[in-house]
Subunit: 416 residues, 2 copies
């Protein structure tokens, strides 16, 4: 275990929470049916040693719910045991349920596959599947819903990456209805917890699966996975460019423009960097600046880095960079990126990060997909010394709204 002190026990009161996406060092999430509490305990000690206050974990849908009407008690018990183990290290746990798609693999519950055609049921609309997912949330709620270390349910990890290859596509209105149904199920199963939809840039930058308005108004906070590497930011703009260093910040401010509750928060639930994308020498510096820029935002719930431990190289078929994303190596050696993050967390525990109040907002035309033609002006403002908020055009004349957000200057796209 590295020689860094345990974080203060009151880390739940941090202005910005810090955590890691947990990747079990021993056999990844295949550990659910190859349980080794000692190995998990050691992993969690590694995570706490960096000052983290929470983790996010991944259920595998077919293992949790092998039959539409059967949630495996042994699996639920193991989720609870993992929460117990996390509790030993003062770590809260967000539990991702309907997976679906994790790290490039598709986990299809057998009961969703038509045995004549091989087609997978449209889980967004199929009534039997919706009843089954409700059962799954209910069973998990009974098993862990009141656990003191249970943060909440992440409905599903980037579910469109599960749906798309299986030929399942839905219009945003349908996806939005699914979000509302799932959040109602999650809330009924575990009232008052931090329930989120774990998504990345895709639905924000495409009019597909979910609407931006629903993403900004359903669930407890707006979770987002900001992966600059997957959308070619480093190769397009340069690894230490403004767009690279402020990519996550951009999403935080963009998403807040779609919040109807002015106190609602954004959660950077995944972000990370691979040496496949960037010279390893630059990674600690990029990481530090990227985090500093994130915490410059108001209304940020937390930052949950991807991920704790490198994937065991004995496991095959992952994208090569999945073996590289850990802040620890697979054999528990702290990497420079991990030391960088731990230093920042310690600094912020001494001196909580002060957010920049953004009184100037870049106006996003309603219906505009906020990709490059909006992203680049946002970055140009940063280059000019402005740290902008974002406001939807349709709300730009709502004085009470602007006042509530403390915005007194509007910047139109053609002014940048």
């Amino acid at each position: 275990m590295p020689a860094v002190a345990e974080a203060a026990p009151d880390s739940r009161s941090r202005r910005v929470r810090f955590g890691l996406n947990y990747t079990p060092s021993k056999n990844w999430w295949y550990c659910w049916s190859d349980w080794d509490a000692q190995s998990i305990r050691a992993d969690l000690a590694d995570i706490r040693a960096l000052g983290m206050d929470h983790i996010r974990i991944m259920g595998l849908w077919p293992e949790l719910q092998p039959n539409a009407t059967f949630v495996r008690p042994e699996m639920v018990n193991r989720v609870r045991e993992l929460l117990d183990l996390a509790g030993e290290r003062h770590l809260d746990v967000e539990v991702t349920v309907l997976n679906g798609a994790v790290s490039g693999f598709l986990f299809v519950p057998p009961w969703m596959i038509n045995n004549g055609t091989g087609k997978v049921a449209n889980f967004f609309t199929d009534q039997d599947t919706l009843a089954a997912t409700q059962r799954l949330f209910a069973a998990l709620g009974r098993g862990i819903g009141r656990h003191p270390r249970f943060l909440g349910f992440d409905l599903s990890n980037e579910i469109y990456w599960f749906a798309q290859p299986l030929g399942i596509d839905v219009a945003p209105a349908v996806g939005d209805g699914w979000l509302r149904t799932m959040f109602a199920d999650a809330e009924a199963a575990a009232p008052g917890r931090l329930h989120v939809a774990g998504i990345d840039h895709f639905p924000w930058l495409n009019d597909d699966y979910f609407s931006r308005d629903a993403l900004g108004s359903t669930g407890s906070v707006s979770a987002n996975h900001t992966w600059a590497g997957w959308v070619d930011i480093f190769s397009t703009y340069g690894p230490m460019s403004t767009p690279s260093l402020h990519y996550s910040e951009y999403f935080i401010e963009l998403i807040k423009a779609f919040h109807t509750d002015p106190r609602r928060q954004v959660w950077i639930e995944e972000t990370g960097i691979s040496s496949v994308w960037m010279d390893p020498e630059l990674i600690p510096r990029w990481t530090e600046q990227s985090i500093r820029n994130m915490v410059s935002c108001e209304d940020l719930w937390g930052v949950t880095w991807w991920c704790s431990h490198e994937v065991n190289r004995g496991l095959t078929g992952f994208n090569p960079l999945e073996y590289d994303l850990g802040v620890y190596t697979n054999d528990r050696r702290l990497k420079p990126i991990g030391a960088t993050i731990a230093d920042l967390v310690r600094e912020y525990d001494r001196n909580p990060p002060k957010p920049i109040h953004r009184s100037a907002a870049l106006v996003l035309p309603d219906g505009m997909v906020p990709s490059i033609p909006f992203f680049e002006p946002f970055m140009r403002l940063i280059d000019k010394g402005v740290r902008p908020a974002v406001v939807k055009a349709s709300r730009a004349t709502d004085k009470a709204y602007l006042e509530a957000r403390g915005i007194d200057k509007l910047i139109q796209l053609d002014e940048v």
Copy 2:
């Protein structure tokens, strides 16, 4: 437990072995990751109480091997524990591995699914998958290969029902190559055991996936699943008709025509009956006569009825008849069919069943698909009082062969 005595401890020396396809009463094969040794122990006591000497069990491929290079030790340990529990009841165990398709559900290993297209790798030909299956057999061989109760590997349960809906089809020459590779892997992993390919009528009655010649010459014995109900025998000919009562017998004799080793045996590895197909009043009588006709055949390894216990009705999505096929109810009450089979087994332990020597053989033209135009003449011979063997036309002039089989009369199709 029903009041029937344990079978004699030397039941391995039976001329015809009797067993059941084991269906765990508590949560079906989902039990692999929801382990309850006490429930399994009670199930196995039920099975032994009927005088059975073996069971066949079903692995679930994604659970055994969640990653191409990772066979879950916990799952292998549980297979071994099941063999230990079976040993307590003097039951041998055939372990079916690459499932695939069981009871109407498809279990697709995630590492076989392309995450861009959703397509499943052609496991008959894909080199990575073939390397993975070899690893799986090797790991199981290390875990259970020398277990005193391990009968052998069934490669896969009716793998074409797994392949077909996933759009995977191969010519018989390709399927035959796969059989040889898999049997070589199984034999390397557990030399000298009873390794079989668990198939039903389909490849015998269609020139698809496997050739009849390869099915009759690969593996330790020729396994077959004789389900008269799935091919409409009862509705076409009547439940107590000759074709119905001699359906399994037909397959035993048909398959033997494709044996190159005259001592090779046939195993009726699955056969069963549902009240969905037949008036329950008739079921015990049909069962008794069907078994008596099977054991009338020489070179029969055994009969393994489907199945031990009815599927738990709390589990959904199975074909309705799957809930009805057990010889025990789900709550362990012996059904009339179970009592019938147990009576027969006791009778045969007192008086081993004498096979009928078949000196007259119906000649099967080479290349002819042995469906109705061959099946019906075979049945007409039985109606006439002849219990025929079957000989391929290309071997009908081979005197040494006919002599070895004790056949002195050939019957051409146009003579029936």
